[in-house]
Amino acid sequence: MDTNAQAEVLLVDDEEMVITSVRAFLMLETEYNIHGFTSPEQAVKHMETHPVDVAISDYLMPKMNGIQMLSKAKDLQPEAARILLTGHADKQSAIRAINDVGLYHYLEKPWDNAQLLLIVRGAIERTQLLRRLQSMVSQLDDAHDSLKDIQTRLIKAFL
């Protein structure tokens, strides 16, 4: 069983069959919650209200391509890892994706399940570490603030 059980995985592909296949595989191997969307717009809407650990998106989709989708994902939840899973492997789109969207990984179809699992696992771990770091930093900030407060009160008390 995974250490990062109960992770939230967002999967976007206009082909239902890809979602079904990846979901079946991840459900067999992990305890992740998989949220599949054939419409990138709905995937973005989901991210507005639900934190995800990793967003995996196809590239060529009607209305919104994978880079646009992941760029919105980055705006909404910058710490969530982003993966492009594409059958349309042209170099320009890959470079753009890596540079503009800060991609965690670029995967080509047909994908290798073992590799996909390794990458998704790494992505989730990274996101969860980032979130823990963020919460620790904010705890540290709070502690620092209250320390400052105590210091001010102490100084006031002695003056």
């Binding site: 082909e15 069959m17 296949s21 079946a24 595989f25 067999l28 059958g87 047909p110 994908w111 399940n113």
Partner: protein
């Protein structure tokens, strides 16, 4: 030469060129269609591949769950499913290999030199002609160990494919094609030998120039070898020669430098 004959010759030449142009255009459209089809096939293949793996693993889990409680019939069903999945996987791998081969050849616009496994490139081209000659021509490969060669893979693949298609078409009934790869100094040497009809002396000289074909209309543009020569000689700084004996067969020799020397530095 008197003028009417000259005009007639020129008219004939124009007609031939026009036919070639139409044939080229058709090939170009087919090529573009193929590139689109490859992309379309990729996703369903990926899906099937993944599903086969998931089903195989699910069967393992199922078998563990059944343990001693399963009836012989249930066991037999699980075994049948397992063997069918194994067949599906092999079938899928074959489709996938063909698609990969086509992909190598359809990467137009990509003009970068990269380290290439020549053997793989030849296998890709052989896989494509295999479907055409399956029960007629036996294909044999003799590859010596070779370091990666700097090439523009889809172009070099096209050159190999042209020569292989010619070899296959030169064999009227049954015959064989032998492909050898050797290293000679700083060059990779690829020999493609066929047991076809051979090339007559008259044809020899006109062959590499382009615009010459003995094939029926619609089967050849007469440009295959000229294009191959351009790819091998002009683009890769190699050489393309052949030896032929009418009635016995032809061997093509492609020499490609292992390291690419950009123009002006050679």
């Amino acid at each position: 030469m008197d003028r009417p004959t000259e005009v007639q010759n020129l008219e004939h030449e124009i007609a031939t060129l026009r036919e070639q142009m139409i044939a080229m255009n058709r090939l170009f459209s087919v090529g573009q269609l193929a590139a689109g089809v490859i992309h379309e096939i990729n996703t369903p293949i990926a899906s099937i591949f993944s599903n086969i793996e998931v089903l195989q693993k699910s069967l393992d889990v199922l078998e563990r769950q059944m343990q001693d409680t399963a009836t012989p019939k249930a066991r037999q069903i699980v075994e049948t499913m397992r063997s069918l999945l194994a067949v599906d996987r092999v079938a899928c791998e074959r489709i996938s290999a063909i698609v990969r081969s086509l992909k190598t050849h359809a990467r137009a616009g990509d003009e970068e030199f990269r380290d290439t496994a020549i053997e793989q490139l030849l296998d890709d081209s052989l896989r494509l002609i295999q479907a055409d000659v399956k029960n007629r021509v036996t294909i044999q490969t003799e590859y010596e160990a070779l370091p990666p060669v700097q090439s523009i893979p889809h172009l070099l693949g096209q050159a190999f494919l042209n020569i292989l298609v010619n070899a296959a078409q030169a064999i009227p009934g049954e015959g064989s094609i032998i492909v050898r790869v050797k290293k000679q100094g700083d060059f990779a040497v690829i020999e493609i030998e066929d047991t076809g009809v051979g090339i007559t002396i008259d044809c020899k000289n006109r062959l590499l120039a382009g615009g010459f074909t003995t094939k029926p209309l619609g089967e050849g543009t007469g440009l295959g070898l000229a294009i191959s020569r351009q790819i091998v000689v002009d683009r890769h700084g190699g050489s393309l020669d052949f030896e032929s004996e009418p009635g016995k067969g032809t061997t093509f020799f492609v020499r490609i430098p292992l390291r690419h020397q950009p123009a002006g530095e050679a």
